[in-house]
Symmetry: C2
Subunit: 147 residues, 2 copies
DNA sequence: TATTGTTATACTCTATAACTATA
DNA sequence: TATAGTTATAGAGTATAACAATA
């Protein structure tokens, strides 16, 4: 196989895998009654976070975080609270219900994710090495808007 | 690292990689003056194809193929023609201009894709093996709508 | 003056439903 | 009756611009 062909094949395989991971994520979100974007925000809320930080983490505009927060708040999964240090800032945090939903979401993500399922332990380690080399050591930034 | 942690890390790395691949694909599309969805359709049109087949390939509804085809036709990149064997079918094909655009698009995709750039030949082969095992031998189905 | 968050608005992506023409 | 394609419409995702409160 020529080098270019091989690169094309790798890109194609990754896109295919991506497609299936996204399907899995959408299924996981639907299992918990959320849209993918809502589920991404929920997934990120392991600990409380200012809305601004959420926008940076999800690589999207602050106004969209307002939209998502409104919806998650209406569902009783998150709540906004004032930041004592800076009265402009609003902290987003999970409610008890939100924590339960997040736990279920994560288990569904793992359940639906096709990613490492068919690899044994040493293959997983090998894959992780390769991915780290492709990404650089600081590559993983978590879920992002629109993926 | 625990097995679950490792799986989580792999999923995270893949998501990060996909995020950057999507950015690269969007850049490539923009370089050619297309939206990502239009670029995906163009990419698939290596040879003429009924609109129905395009919808199947891109995993989207037939009506969306009509929308995309309208736009690509307005740009002078594709044309519809009757299928002699079945008068319900319309064949989509690239115009000369469309072929030029597609060639440019593909070179931009390679240029912007972060995927295999930092790996040497044997690492690429290794990666390809792992991806094939994850996907099964028939995994690669090409680009898809919305990724 | 710069920053956080909100509101209103608008654009893109994409699907569903109803339809026409053909098989 | 089933299939290919079109049209109209609507919902989800997301950004931009204008704004209020605070720093």
């Amino acid at each position: 196989m020529a080098v270019d062909e091989q690169a094309e094949e790798i890109i194609g395989r990754l896109l295919d895998l991506f497609h299936r991971m996204r399907d899995g994520f959408e299924k996981a979100a639907a299992d918990v009654g959320l849209t993918p974007a809502e589920a991404q925000a929920l997934h990120r809320l392991d600990e409380p976070s200012p809305m601004r930080a959420m926008a940076d983490a999800l690589h999207c505009d602050a106004s969209y975080i307002t939209v998502l927060s409104d919806r998650l708040e209406a569902l009783g999964l998150v709540e906004r609270s004032a930041d004592p240090g800076d009265r402009r800032v609003r902290q987003l945090a999970l409610t008890r219900e939100g924590r339960r939903a997040r736990t279920r979401l994560i288990s569904r993500i793992h359940q639906h994710s096709p990613a490492p399922g068919s690899l044994d332990a040493s293959q997983r380690a090998e894959l992780l090495d390769l991915l780290e080399q492709m990404a650089g050591p600081d590559g993983y930034r978590g879920f992002t808007c629109g993926s």
